[in-house]
Subunit: 420 residues, 2 copies
Amino acid sequence: MTLCILSITILSCRNRCCLCSAINEDNARFCLLAGLILLYLLCGAAVFSALERPSELRARLLWDQQLANFTLSHRVSLGALHALLRQYEEANGAGIRVDALRPRWDFSGAFYFVGTVVSTIGFGMNTPATIPGKIFLIFYGLIGCAATILFFNLFLERIITMLAYIMRWCHERRMRRSGLGAVSGAEEPRSEEDSLEGWKPSVYYVMLILGVASVLIACSASSLYCSMEDWSYMDSLYFCFVAFSTIGFGDLVSSQREHYEAQEAYRLGNCLFILMGVCCIYSLFNVISIIIKQTLNWILARLACPGRRCPCSCPKRGLLPTGRHRYTDASVETVCDSETDAGAGVDGVAGGRRLSGEMISVNDFTASNKVSLALLQKQLCETAQQGPRQSHVPRHNGFSGGVGAFAIMNNRLQETSVDR
Amino acid sequence: MTLCILSITILSCRNRCCLCSAINEDNARFCLLAGLILLYLLCGAAVFSALERPSELRARLLWDQQLANFTLSHRVSLGALHALLRQYEEANGAGIRVDALRPRWDFSGAFYFVGTVVSTIGFGMNTPATIPGKIFLIFYGLIGCAATILFFNLFLERIITMLAYIMRWCHERRMRRSGLGAVSGAEEPRSEEDSLEGWKPSVYYVMLILGVASVLIACSASSLYCSMEDWSYMDSLYFCFVAFSTIGFGDLVSSQREHYEAQEAYRLGNCLFILMGVCCIYSLFNVISIIIKQTLNWILARLACPGRRCPCSCPKRGLLPTGRHRYTDASVETVCDSETDAGAGVDGVAGGRRLSGEMISVNDFTASNKVSLALLQKQLCETAQQGPRQSHVPRHNGFSGGVGAFAIMNNRLQETSVDR
């Protein structure tokens, strides 16, 4: 229903298509995503309800039967037993089980606990029971979680840089091989550099690589848990996903028994696997979310201009070749990807150039205004500052908002633009 | 110890301070953060261990006593009781408690469950028990968590834009009031615009506002939980933090009883509070993480060049006024904050200008190279692309890496630069 309302809202804006700059498409995208997530939740709830409801009913029947058997065979009143079970629930909260578990709040247990706090996994195998512990947790978690978010982001940066570097190297090698019969002498490196100028790794390849890495880590970790915890391989994989994605239900928690073979090694391995897994899955989530955003852009473009071109505000879109560009309606052609393009750009061939989330068409600007170098600099700098006020260049297509946590904040806040 | 090793590594690089561009300070920052987080974890583990260990021991004693009392008074063997308690633990896993709880896997229960999955809260009050449920969870969570990360990031974007807009408006009003006796006539709006040109809200103010908003939401939600769940106010606040930060231990979970007064309204209110809280705290974490990154930069700058200036690579730093700039060593002066600065910039007064994570000094570049407009464009575009290869302008100070999930990926991957 929400989606319907959304679609209607967006479709009602269609007639104002040529007033694209007036429609705030960032808001539309946000609402569309919210609607889609709600729909996704409803579908998920239906599926899980269908899958798990019978198992819940069976478990309840079984437990009632077990309880009845016990009261009958041991002649204990149900009331007394319930009182005991309530006490046991309370003891459970303090981390006590029938079968001896590792101590919860010795140093290594507390270390495991704080690890689950700052990573926001939160298994809940131990939780602070005292008031000072709870108060401390709030302040401790506030700094810890923020620091870990930064850590994950820096990890993401490192891994993307590394992947881009490796993939570029592979691309270069492939090109060198295929270009054996190409022009020789001084010209060759120049032309190679030109064609690599605008080269960037595909987000799909990066997703694939991160996905494969995540699966490898999860499979290796599962083998370990299989042998150490006596879980089935499926349970181990499920645990890995729940832990690595920082969901952390706590129904299965690794390294909780009192004794293991090679205990210290296992604890270390457990920590390392969880660390690697969380970093990998976090990166994977972020890459997938880019693809989701592209899909949203595509949907919005379809909803806004279905089957026709927007004549006034999107003059170049219809002229783009559709081969390389997955979503022509949403594409903004870059003009400076190679030297040839840049040269053509000066001649006034239009196109939007994205500069850190804001859109600026350098060539449009220079061609139409005959600006001085100083003015151009100013224009570029202003655009890069991403202030809340509107840029002089209108936002043509609505796909110009920055994505992501820091992209948004970078250069929008005072301190971030000066010193990041 | 890790920190010591880190410090030594960084200090040993000091002698190569003038080879700043050769040192990969992005890596140094990453390692420094990892070391600091490890230290933070160790300290946290020590504190929690000290706070919670006595309570755990008391709880264990109490439970042993209760169990002994029960076996004595009801003449039940300890073995039989242990078997029952194991069965109860299993039943617990399926969401069964002594006191009736809401059904776990009816539609509303399943909806609550999927909500905790995609938000990565993962209370664990219900968890899939069947193999198909577990397999479905993995694929469902993969897309769901990615979509929610995108949602949080778009929310962050909206909230930062809104805050920046409001704060700019307030700033403008304040300036207009204080400028009552200023120049009149046609000059006034011009000079006003000039001084607002480079104005951006302070990251500290934004943090303060988000912090206050989070506290307000948490306090309102706590009042609700207090009255509905019979938790103490402190417990409610603790639950709010654990839920909003997506840690989700599951020791306290709201809306789990079978019946409440005004049940539907409470369930809706619970969902809305958790949604608002998670969005707010996520934004707050991200803003705090920027401040942590600034602190890291400051530490790195101190470690790299303690008490002295780096003569060759940082020619302007010593000349900067220290008033506005918190960390002079780490500051990169912007040249285009106001028209005056931009004008001065053309005359060749140096300074680095940050463009989406990479550093480019437009004025240095033009002054020293007498470049054509086309070349300047190309240079700017290349820098904005943030490719893995080095920019022509050397990375002076190491504070030029992009921060954050998407800042990193934007323009580094093929599809993200074309269509974000």
